[in-house]
């Protein structure tokens, strides 16, 4: 990544006549070209730099065989090989854009998402529902940058694609509605946001089940809108459901984790990646804050959410935070007589303390990078 891009001015005489070279990012007339592949052009150094950081440094050399027509590439075998290479390229762009988004580098995600969409159109054609994931990714990147009118445009294209294929899956619809919900929340049209998040929850329940974390994310977003509308009691009720779903999910993860530590033969290490981890942390943190600020302050909910956070940080390997949230959970659960959570919280606290006094080297308790698929266990991945 410290490798710097090399760039040179376009020499018009070096190319065949006809057809101006266009900027990779903005499709304006280009004046510069990448000096490595010599096949990618830019209108100015700024765009060239943005593309380099965003995606180009990763795919520069991969573009060479794709963008250089040869005798072989025109034959049948060559075409098949070309399709495979393009598919590989698409997958790279998708994962780069995803990663940048989960790291909240929206600006850097735009070139990758843009190229992902362009390649997908190239391979799949301009009007198939399979393009929707790439539209949504691009919309998400622009959403982060606050380009709401652009997002609206992209999403309406995606909506059109979905509309034209009534048989498309629940997962695609779920994602589309979630993106639309985000857009309407940002523009302040809360009723429309609610409608879309409601559809999001409906399709998520159809695809992943009522208890899935995807569904619970939909509930969380709805709760946010209800809070904006001042309907706090609905928000409270939704948060309680979200907390229960996460509690169930994290408890299961914790159990598998402990089993895998006890039995090193099982190499299964379920964990979340940075982005998902941050998201979950934010969801739970928001709910804990809400409950602590709330006048009613339900200790059961505080205990539940704090226990979730403790488990989350324990799985992540941050024992200090796990201890902190664990003790919050314990305090809250002791306020309720015969609360069934107390035992589980105490168990977790003991586990963390025992690990702190005698650290197990290589016991798998520190966060290990895990493949991206594990992170989005129950969220769909689209591969054109």
């Amino acid at each position: 990544m410290d490798e710097q891009p090399r760039v040179s001015r376009i020499l018009p005489l070096a190319f065949p006549r006809g057809g101006d070279k266009l900027c990779e990012l903005c499709q304006e007339r280009a004046h510069l070209q990448c000096d490595r592949c010599r096949l990618t052009f830019y209108c100015n150094a700024e765009h060239q730099q943005a593309d380099w950081v965003g995606i180009h440094q990763r795919i520069c050399q991969l573009l060479v065989p794709i963008r250089t027509p040869t005798a072989f590439s025109l034959q049948r075998d060559g075409q098949i090989e070309m399709q495979l290479k393009k598919a590989e390229l698409i997958e790279i762009c998708r994962s780069v854009a995803r990663r940048k988004l989960s790291e909240r580098k929206h600006q850097e995600a735009v070139p990758a998402a843009q190229f992902y969409l362009r390649c997908s159109i190239d391979v799949l054609g301009p009007s198939t529902v399979q393009l929707v994931p790439s539209h949504l990714l691009l919309a998400e990147a622009n959403m982060g940058l606050g380009n709401l009118s652009l997002v609206a445009e992209i999403l309406s294209q995606a909506e059109w694609l979905v509309l034209k294929s009534p048989g498309c899956g629940h997962a695609v619809r779920q994602q589309l509605h979630r993106s639309l919900g985000h857009l309407h929340t940002a523009t302040g049209d809360l009723e429309a946001a609610l409608l879309n998040f409601a559809n999001d929850v409906y399709f998520a329940s159809e695809e992943f089940g009522l208890e899935s974390t995807v569904t619970s994310d939909g509930y969380f977003l709805m709760a946010d809108v209800f809070a904006k509308q001042g309907k706090i009691s609905i928000t409270r009720s939704l948060y309680s459901t979200v907390a229960h779903i996460w509690h169930h999910h994290l408890s299961k993860l914790l159990k598998t984790h402990i089993e895998s530590v006890q039995n090193p033969d099982v190499m299964f290490e379920p964990s979340y990646d940075q982005g998902r981890q941050a998201e979950v942390d934010e969801v739970l943190g928001t709910m804990l804050e809400f409950e602590q600020d709330d006048s009613r302050k339900d200790p059961a909910q505080v205990a539940l959410v704090a226990h979730c956070l403790a488990m989350l940080w324990f799985l992540k390997g941050d024992n200090l935070k796990a201890l902190g949230f664990g003790s919050v959970a314990l305090q809250a659960s002791q306020l309720i007589p015969n609360h069934d959570l107390t035992e589980a919280v105490q168990g977790l606290l003991q586990l963390v303390q025992s690990l702190q006094t005698e650290p197990h080297p290589g016991s798998g308790l520190s966060a290990q990078p895990s493949p991206e698929d594990v992170l989005h266990q129950d969220s769909p991945s689209f591969q054109p």
Partner: protein, 401 residues
Amino acid sequence: MSESDSSSGYVIELKEEKQVRVVLEWIQEPGTSAQCWNAARASFSMVTVTPLGHRKFRFQLRRMKESVLEESAQVASKEDISQFRNSLKQNICVQMLQEGHHRSFSELFSLLRSDHDRRAAEPGSALQLDVPLEEHREKLETVKLHLSRAEQAERTGSWSVVCEQRLFLGRYFSAPEDQWLRELEEAKQQAELCVRQAEDGGWLDLSGRPLRLRACEALWRIYDTLAAAPLIAANYTEALELLNKGYIMATESEDKHFEGEAAYRLGLAYQLTGDHNTAKKFLNTCMQICGTMQDADGLGKAYKAMAKSMESEGNTDETVHCLEKLVDITRSTGQQDNLADACLCLGNIYYNTHQYSRACEFFLQGFEVACGIGNVDLLQKAQVLLGCARADVKSASPAAQ
């Protein structure tokens, strides 16, 4: 007033505003909807129409018409289209969520899924012939309404309303015209949930009766209805299990009337299985309860059932005893139908034990009662029985002499 020329268009009479008649040619333009008419009508009262202000008024109406049309077009493009395009299930679910009733959504969603799964699990069964639950608009709307109300009440802490709504759903699904077993299952679950919720609450309903008791009562009814099908199919084990559960619920409802009724049902069921001892035990319970409640109707039924059990066991004396009791009870309460019936039964017993003159006596009583109430069926039956018995009296007496 000079404008009142009705030849070129519609005339609107404005009773509110000085009876002015205005001719509105534009109403005849294509695309004017009833909605537009109504809107125009509603706003007439706002505008004072004078010959001077007429032009302005007409302009205003035109603008209003445009805005109404535009608005109705917009409404059609969002709500209506999605209502039309999406499935009923999706529309109902999304509405519930939008209103913030997410728990109701998740309950309905699970119910629909279990209905779906059951259908998928039994291909070719009778279930397939029924319309899936997710296509019953009325049922889905009802469930939505009451679940939502219950959830709303739960949020505001009015637990009695929660139970009321859940009970309603329970009763809705156990209504006689809608005895789908799988829905009764749902009704049972609703009522069971209600009993649990009401248990530690100690809430009272509107008439001041604890809700838990009402829930128990509803649950008893549901068990009773559920037991009917296996009873007819001679699947006695299942029927008895349900009826026993029902009996427990009826006992817990603290309503003696229901307890007696439940004991009676259970007694009859045991009678069908041939377990007369247990049957008698429950019938006795029923009799005691009805006795203390002075429920002559219930008491009569119980004695009649008891007599049947005794007769099946060949215990003639006890049978006669029961039937005599029955005759007494029905005579004292003036239940003529039952009295006639009881007399005929008693006559039958004497006839079968060859005590023909006593048989005649009771058949005659039965006949007279039946005549009194004009029950032709019973009357004819009594006539035949009396005729037979008299013939036997005559043939028996010369032989004895």
